[in-house]
Symmetry: D2
Subunit: 319 residues, 4 copies
């Protein structure tokens, strides 16, 4: 499977899936990588910590902590699971940025993706549903309740529409407004359709928009920006070539045929070549899934940023 | 392949694909089915005519004519191909409803699908971009130029959102306003990703919303509605299980493994089960493809309904 | 003021405003019209009942009951007022259609207006946020909880875009599916900007889309459709000529100049002529106001239609 | 009238309207201001040049040139007027930035406003319809035809939704990517409803987002950004208080009553107080007007930036 990913130049956005790929069928430990699982009533929280360069190399992603919240019911709007997820997000936000923010520290939210393409609109919708308060500090401080730190947000759009790298947009804002923390939300690609709308990943390692570990020049990371970067994402698509390869593998298992990854890749390319690698598999309910996920992530983040403010109050500040 | 389609209960919306499935690898004639191909500079027009019950049974669709306009450049907005397609549509509209409309006959346009789900919004966008003139005849006849027959249109929404069958909405309107012709536009599912945004199918057999030939009770067909029904569609998705099966078949071909359709189905179900049959494969450019296709179809239909009116003039009437 | 409304051919959509216009400055009773006011903690409910033809003639609207719920905080998303309004709507729905629905009676919801024009999208959004259940009765009865009557809904679009009268679309559906009750939601025009987003009107008299009492042929009323029709609306605009006239009247009051309605009309026409009567005054927050109002009305209606189902459960059925 | 504007703190966005306000009823020259009018077949071009501080003070705007293209048919989609306007824009773009751009100079487009509020979405739509090419220079130079300079664009959103000043977003991008020219597009407020959708203003003086000349700290101007700034705008609203005041003035003229601006202001405040100054007057066709204006401005700008490329080719690059 690793070969498929390399040859199609696919991203493995989820640390839990990278771990599964590294491990393969063996259930062995990965050197330099520590994992911890917490099971709650309706959700499961897996924390993968990459501790050194060896772990980073094997996992294909930077040193740091990756928290995965999994809950099949997340994709339907079950109010009870929603609250459990929001609580888990709040708690893990605190864990991930470690040092608590000071009361009046500014936070910058960044919503990656394209609001005109449903499956890629998670980031822009996150900005839309988040309470934005920074301008009240300048123009209408009397409209603020106690505990309303300055929070601002931007959805910088995608390269194909703006001609600008995300980093080119975000770096200037960071230099200008000096936030103490950056929170970046993006739609992710998964290796498994079951993850669409059921998984949230949070990490303290920043983000490489649209690329693997190599292209560090444009990464939204602490080394480049000078402030901690929390990255949050939800899988919203699976690449069509991943699905096709899984079907071939399963077919070989079922029939006893011998799986050959180069020939599998050839076969898949032949079927999917017309649109190159850009074919995405999504469920019909994707609009609703994005909507719900964006609202839940907005609230989970808001609760961690404004711990003394009630959820009802926060909804009033969400534009 | 036929088995896959039956077992996953998939639609084969395109007559040219049904023909390929019936023929299989052999290039034999299908009894009761006549085919004619016309190649133009940038497009290819295939007319499949099902002449009798035997042909209808083999092709899994009603007696009638199916015109398929194929042009890889359709999906990009090449102005030259656009005009060739619009001309071909106009000509074949005339061929399909055979008897010409009288000057003041009313025409009802129906745009099937869900305007909130990109890949399913072709029909509603067709209504949006079509010149609608019927109300001018009642309220502002002076705003009409010579040759502006009464045209009206509705996008009835989808069952999951309205709780209403399309037929339940359309039948009443037909009885009330007595159109001489119904034109129904819908997004289709293809068996091949290359067809997305490159193919238009037009037929004079009406349409069975969201189903095969069986569910005749709810079909939009002349027998039920009492007026001719032209159905027009563009493929906008391929079902994920179709892609997966093609990859398995190609892999068997490449490796010499023996293809077994039951085991293929098992493998695919295993990979895709979580969202049932509702997983669709679409290219990332789907928003743009739908937009362009809807505009081209609107104009092709409008030119056939208002033969004496210029394209510029028609665009002024398109709301 | 009456003259302004006649001369500009404006609608007075709200019964409470028609009452004020009839009364003028005098606080006299209107023959054939009974009024009752209930004040609650955050809202005020005025029930105007037109009892006979004399009252109907004076009020310019049919015999029947008109319930107006007023609450300045309605336009902001105050969770507490929201619940009070939803409760008031539920209670008055029961009052207005008098005879209770039987358990398995079908209800048809109609959302008037144009979803592409913000200030006119209240009706379509009402359909979007309402729980739709009728199709589950046919296709997935196991997905229904006890007490889930069949509810369906349609947003038929506006004449200018479809070329169809609302009545032409709705009558056929009513004949086909035989609902026991029709509920129609529409955006209204007010005489006062303070009413935008703060007022809900409910009546049991049906509705004349886009027109006064004269054009009965196209009215959605019990006499025509054979079933009770509840009409619900919220003011979302004030016509610009109404605002201008109010300013002139107030100016005359402030300066002692003599108000002359013909000269006022001339002056206003002169200022607004370019776009005819189609100039609307809306607040910048109109998108948010429509969104909140549509959600509140959907929930108020749903609670009255599914009295045994919890609000959380209802939200799961809202597509 | 001047008092109305001051007291309601309104913007006079159009130089031609500022000129009319300064002149009042007298047709005198304004010191330090030169005006030139060119009449073409379907459009009229007025160039107002503010030459010194005295002119700037009287006109309430910076020294520089303001080109106004007026054409009543602009708001309908007349293909012939469209081409005349696009040509006029191209010609005046060259006039305004004076020194021609070098072949490979980068240009940054900025679309101000809120894409979720129709009347404020001109800027974001301008970005959407403009050919964006900068990323091809990095990633796919082979996709570029000769003469395709690097153009990029951003719609930074509005303060109320992002908590960020436009200047805070744009300055960082300018510093990072070093464009040779900034082109800013924004929706404007007019003093006259006839201007909505019929007027385009272009100037070489930059822009003060949402404010008059005072708030220079946040202005998008050459002195702050170090590069020339072309500002382009179309009126999309008239403030309701302006309409009301005009009606009062016209009424006084018609009846011989004496106009008193303080009492007029009092009267208007009384009528409009509930929503403060945020009440906008727009025609019902505003969605269509914005759409057409955005497409025309995009094309006019694109023609001036890519003089050797055909309009058809440019449309292919517009995402």
């Amino acid at each position: 499977m690793h070969n498929i990913i390399k040859l199609f130049n696919l991203d493995v956005d989820l640390a839990v899936e990278a771990r599964d790929l590294v491990r393969g069928t063996a259930d062995r430990e990965i050197p330099g990588v520590v994992e911890q699982v917490e099971k709650m009533e309706k959700i499961k929280i897996t924390t993968i910590t990459i501790k050194d360069q060896q772990g980073a190399h094997m996992m294909g992603r930077p040193i740091g902590s990756y928290v995965t919240i999994e809950s099949p019911p997340l994709k339907i709007n079950d109010p009870y699971v929603k609250d459990e997820i929001i609580d888990a997000m709040e708690k893990n936000m605190n864990f991930l940025f470690n040092s608590r923010l000071k009361t009046d520290d500014t936070v910058l939210l960044v919503g990656l993706g394209n609001w005109r393409a449903t499956a890629d609109s998670l980031g822009p919708k996150f900005i839309e549903y988040s309470p934005i308060t920074r301008h009240y500090h300048h123009y209408a401080p009397e409209a603020l309740v106690e505990g309303m730190r300055p929070v601002c947000g931007i959805a910088p759009g995608v390269l194909g529409i703006t001609g600008l790298e995300t980093f080119e947009v975000v770096e200037g804002i960071v230099n200008k407004i000096k936030p103490a923390l950056l929170i970046v939300v993006d739609a992710l690609a998964a290796q498994n359709v079951e993850r669409i709308g059921t998984t949230i990943q949070m990490s303290n390692t920043g983000i490489q928009p649209g690329a693997g570990i190599g292209n560090a020049r444009k990464a939204l990371v602490e080394e480049k920006l000078g402030i901690p970067v929390i990255a949050i994402g939800c899988p919203t698509i699976v690449n069509a070539s991943v699905i096709a390869n899984q079907a071939i593998q399963k077919f070989c298992l079922n029939t006893g045929a011998i799986y050959d990854d180069l020939k599998a890749i050839d076969s898949i390319k032949n079927v999917l070549s017309y649109f190159g690698g850009s074919l995405a598999v999504t469920p019909k309910e994707i609009d609703e899934i994005i909507e719900n996920s964006a609202r839940i992530i907005s609230m989970g983040v808001a609760k961690s940023l404004f711990p003394s403010i009630s959820q009802e109050q926060l909804e009033l500040y969400a534009t």
